[in-house]
Symmetry: C2
Subunit: 361 residues, 2 copies
Amino acid sequence: MPSRRIAAAAAVAAGGLLAAPALVSAQPALVWRMPSSFPKTLEALSGGAALFCRMVGEATDNRFQIRYSGPGEVVPPFQVLDAVQNGTVECCHTAAFYFTGKEPGFAFFTGMPFGMNTRHLNAWMYAGGGAELMAEFLEPYNAVPLAAGNTSAQMGGFFRRELRSVEDLRGLKFRISGLAGSVLQRLGTVPTQLPGGEIYAALERGAIDAAEWTGPYDDEKLGFHRVAPFYYYPGFMEGGALIHVLVNRERWAGLPKAYQTVLRLAAAEANHYTLAKYDAENPAALRRMVAQGAKLTAFPREILDACWREAFAMYEEMAKQNPRFARVHAPWSAFRAEQIAWSRVCEFGFDSYVYAKQGRG
Amino acid sequence: MPSRRIAAAAAVAAGGLLAAPALVSAQPALVWRMPSSFPKTLEALSGGAALFCRMVGEATDNRFQIRYSGPGEVVPPFQVLDAVQNGTVECCHTAAFYFTGKEPGFAFFTGMPFGMNTRHLNAWMYAGGGAELMAEFLEPYNAVPLAAGNTSAQMGGFFRRELRSVEDLRGLKFRISGLAGSVLQRLGTVPTQLPGGEIYAALERGAIDAAEWTGPYDDEKLGFHRVAPFYYYPGFMEGGALIHVLVNRERWAGLPKAYQTVLRLAAAEANHYTLAKYDAENPAALRRMVAQGAKLTAFPREILDACWREAFAMYEEMAKQNPRFARVHAPWSAFRAEQIAWSRVCEFGFDSYVYAKQGRG
């Protein structure tokens, strides 16, 4: 590639067309569009998208510009993958598990109920084979994935009524993403998937009984606690939710290697930032919501146990029926089990002691 | 900067010195040196350093090359900051807490005993004000810091004899980094700081009674378990240990903005990779070491409690005596307390349930 660029530059020089800007860089000037699935008001997610674009610009002296748009501005929030696949846009900012309607395996790459936590997901992506599996999985969708953010372990959502037993899940209309909806469906819940911007109104008018989004920082802005006060934890639906930039495959292949690397690196920075921003902002947001009447409530163990049973039974069934699901499920399960075995010793040992001690003042 | 570059390029063109390579990029061609404090055999750390260099090269079409060297090749392992400060080298790869001998505040930016875990450290660095505090702290050392790796919560080290009570810490010769040595000194331990490559021999011949390094992946290679079988956890000394690239201030200021951004982004990628590599490799390494005779042992609570008491008493004393320590201690304490309060609810709630459930099969 560099030698072709040198040749092209030399040809321009020979032709006497040597304008000053052409000298600044032999890299192509590009302007890409990146629609996002996430409302711009959610500043850890939109901030991550904006940071990604800014870093790509800065690292290339603004030769490579990516213009980020909110949901519906260019593409509806859940059609961003289609738009990347068919080349309508060059890339998008989204969460893979929004596309479990296409096939359930997408959920592995954002978050599975009782799946890997944020740390485990990153270990899988950056050094455990997860990135390679995801790239392979996305080939039929004509997309190249980059990990670009994480919400961390999410809260379990807001409920208009308290949950006392597994029976209370029956008939419950619950806005929930990814495979968690399918798990709860096995227990009688009616899952719905709504974009972030439409949840509040549905919850307020009782069209849904419950909704989960991410965690306190976003949830507070969306205001769910004002209409559904029972705020449950932990969000067993997502021990972490990895966000991605998905790039159209031909557009990716057409980039100079340097630009590919800049995209990869800018995504890594956005991944740090989005998680860090949630971590930095969640504590105070949770305190404010509790002061405003949110009732912080742990899921009854009976409910967690029922969901655990149904989740892992469902994964086994899906793996039997769906070879593409099975292809990811086996290494995902093995990696997760290893991570848990090790995390329990050292990381959890440290956290358990410090949290208990600090909690006592 | 861009306009100056255009002018320079135009001047070259006017002088008829228009060689093809000069057209490829108007960015300067640079070769920097980056000595590391860490042995090249420790592949998560050295792999992070190598990845950082490779990413900088790829993102700049190899116009900006950084040559990484192991400890002692160019600079001795614990003199890398001095070499950056006086401009002998352009940057280094190290852990800030190796320099607590200069002043104790360095430890905040790598890891304090019972301090922030890896996740909290990253939240502080990328969105909680930690990066800005570290940059300010390093001004007198003429260095600009970039977060570039983490070992995660470390193990507590290898001991030739079992620890049964706080009394057993008295007179113990312990290779340990950062402020943890000072904490243990208050309980009668004799801390020593040796580079990674010199620990095994000292432990084997009984010059030291115990040594901590990082976690199973490195520890196994260093072979400590063969001469000191009691392998303690959790490593209260470091809930996470952040690794840095430190850049000479004038060299940083002289870089084009695009190169500064590339360094920042390459460090972010190295930070992900180093942690992920440890996470991916630690589980199997721990299993192998246990099979080879390492005796996995929890620190007695009495010892943890004594260390906790001494650690926080020491931080208070240091904050009273040392304004530069105090300047970081106050925001560090506040951020840590907030992180713990929130982590206990959601992240720890998720992990507790999943780890316990998975542990039962």
